[in-house]
Symmetry: C2
Subunit: 441 residues, 2 copies
């Protein structure tokens, strides 16, 4: 998969590639014999969840925990069983333990739970030269992330920030205050801000790090882009799972226990099944017509699936556009107008194909009877109705859910399809009764 | 949406929020009157595609182009119509134009097309103190990204790298060579490496920047994490679109012309429709049975949709697991064994619900006739068969596609559903013929 310089690294990569497919005993068996520097490389590359699972079985746990930055240590501890947390905290040195405990007070998915509490700090009235020396001292004594340098006052309140490039490019005798970006031009986040919002904000302003402050403006830490990449992946997985009506996976596929997998899928499958039972009721209502003209049954799967497909296309596009901020709640009318038009055009296209199919088929292998043209027209008009209904409902359902304060991604393809299936049957039989009255019906 | 320090910024944010919903004339009308510093903030926050669309209508184009780093300028130029590219290149100063032209030679989705050709460089035999002074000079003369510092030899070959933190923490008189991470322990990428691979690699090793080298080991530039966040979003959008059988959107929803939208969705809708036509053929084959026992038709939508839902759950989970590297090609047998089991359990669950429904329904409103128990058993057994077929086929199709060198995400929910619909009908009618022979049939 990757291009790296040396053979030793390929061991590490091979193990990392296989990691999600191994159970924890196999992981331990392959991890423990590694030379220390390779083992460290693997350990750092693992997710907090994988680190936690591994740690429980490792010898020399203290040496592994002390490798981690406070935010990574906090993430690992959050993944442990509650009864193991205290003992693991005790493995840390005193200052780090205090930092980690402060981080553990935040929810995992808010700024405080994502941030690194260590960052490069200077005073605004230092000269550039003094700041450079001060940072060199800091780097030795208190290793921290150094994407930006933050100027704080004596109350730890954030005054401004600058990049290393800016610090380095500035004349040595200027004050930091005069070369930094002042607070009013900085993007900052509050400690309880949700990770999804932070991710949108960092993407919007192309930021690589964002300072976290409390309500008094005191700086608490830094959220960096590498934390956000994980957030973006998580959110995408969550949306994708919702779109297929699966509960959000908590572990990699092969590591999810069989019973969890049953639950993850069974619940939604059952809900959909109960919804889809309405199709049987709808069909029972039209059983008399079906009995008189069995031929109508032939086109049922074709018609309802076309409605489902066009509806799930529309809902998927709108859900994604909402997630990327391309469509807002107030745009609903522009969307519905557009989707109505799209539904009519697409439905007409499929309708023409449908009528063509009926005509050609009847020439090749007759069997629809004398009224096959009327049947073709019924199929075609139903397709126009069902597809238009599909695109409209599929596009509006995410708006409705968001308006109700729910996640638009729950308007998943299978739900839209179920809704459209029932309505599709009603549209089809209504068209049939209207058009075929006096002939077939 | 966001928490920022000052009122002026909310203008910027409001405009950025609305941007994807405006057409280009509205964008210009709101952009041009902004004070310069707000306009710059907006301009930087826009995607290359939006910058390109805006630039065409802007006064003082030169001043805007010169704001951009070479990689961003190259991205913008790639988004312009071909006939506008030369004139836009001419707006740049000479050294930047050369850099941009070199970047334009790469494909957009490979390392060379993503990288920034400007990076902080030192010689390996400088002392730490010399390196700090040299970097301060570089920062003034040649602004560049400074997440890492790279040590090159006189052939521009990469020898090693170190972070600012490492440089700052090192004793001033040590050589760079002695404090840097040597090439053999670095992750590097080749200039033609695909962006998706780079993104996996950076996620796997938690990197914030990765050096790009040519086949001789000469350093060409740096890909940083902010480039990769865009890649991750793009890939997720692409996968999500494929999963709903929509062509990958090239523009935000509201900015996509109506005809493009028809094409984006119509092509796949038609392909699915043609596939789904097989259901009509399958049904025609069983028309005799249907005529004798119209009641069988009632459960058709319920049964085929259950197969489709269980199949699309399975394919979605496997596609996502493959994208995240959690499942590899060689794991297919573990997956198929698991999905067979899941299908049997889930199918049995739905089957029991199905039989329950038939029994209860018949008590409440009789209409299925004397053989309703047999009908219930037929429905239940068909559900077991269809759901098991769904999970198995849904999970194996992504493997088959990947094995053939195609994108597993093409095994989208609608395709799996179409495949399962046809087979589901055959399973259902076969069960009916077997169980109801001599009674209803």
């Amino acid at each position: 998969m990757t291009t790296t310089a040396t053979p030793p690294q390929s061991d590490v990569e091979a193990l990392l590639d296989a990691w999600p497919t191994l159970d924890v005993d196999e992981q331990l068996a392959r991890f423990v014999p590694l030379p220390r520097h390779e083992a460290e490389e693997v350990f750092f590359a693992l997710s907090a969840r994988d680190q936690a699972a591994l740690l429980v079985g490792l010898p020399h746990r203290r040496s592994w925990m002390r490798l981690l930055a406070p935010d990574d240590a906090a993430d690992l501890i959050q993944e442990l069983e509650p009864e193991e947390r205290e003992a693991t905290l005790a493995l840390l040195d005193d200052p780090t333990r205090l930092e980690v405990m402060a981080l553990l007070a935040y929810a995992e998915d808010e700024a405080g739970g994502l941030m690194n509490p260590r960052f490069a700090r200077v005073r605004a009235d230092m000269t550039v030269d003094e700041a450079v020396s001060y940072l060199r001292k800091q780097a030795r004594e208190r290793p921290s992330s150094m994407s930006y340098i933050y100027a704080l006052d004596d109350q730890q309140r954030l005054l401004g920030a600058l990049s290393f490039r800016e610090l380095f490019a500035a004349p040595p005798d200027r004050r930091v205050r005069d070369v930094m970006t002042a607070l009013e031009d900085l993007v900052t986040v509050l400690e309880d801000q949700d990770q999804e919002q932070i991710s949108h904000q960092m993407a919007e302003f192309d930021l690589i790090a964002v300072p976290v402050v409390d309500s008094e403006g005191r700086m608490k830490g830094v959220v960096t882009l590498d934390d956000i990449v994980d957030v973006v992946q998580e959110e995408a997985t969550e949306d994708i799972a919702k779109m297929a009506a699966v509960s959000t996976p908590e572990a990699p596929y092969l590591q999810t226990p069989f019973l969890d997998m049953i639950r993850q899928r069974g619940v939604w499958l059952t809900v959909l099944f109960l919804g889809e039972m309405l199709t049987a009721s709808a069909m029972a209502y039209f059983e008399g017509e079906l009995h008189k003209a069995t031929v109508l049954a032939l086109f049922i799967p074709l018609i309802i699936s076309s409605g489902g497909n066009s509806g799930s296309q529309a809902s998927t596009l709108i859900i994604r556009a909402m997630a990327l901020g391309e469509v807002r709640l107030q745009d609903w009318f522009r969307v519905v107008r557009r989707e109505l038009g799209l539904g009519l055009v697409l439905g007409t296209g499929l309708g023409l194909l449908g009528i063509l199919r009926v005509m050609v088929w009847e020439q090749v292998s007759p069997g629809l009877g004398a009224h096959y043209v009327l049947i073709g027209v019924t199929v075609a008009l139903s397709l126009v109705g069902v597809v238009t209904f599909g695109t409209t409902v599929g596009s509006m359902l995410p708006f409705l859910l968001r308006r109700l304060g729910l996640d638009p991604a729950s308007a998943s393809a299978p739900f839209v399809a179920t809704l459209v299936d029932v309505t599709g049957l009603v549209i089809y039989f209504t068209a049939a009764i209207t058009l075929l009255r006096g002939t077939l019906l």
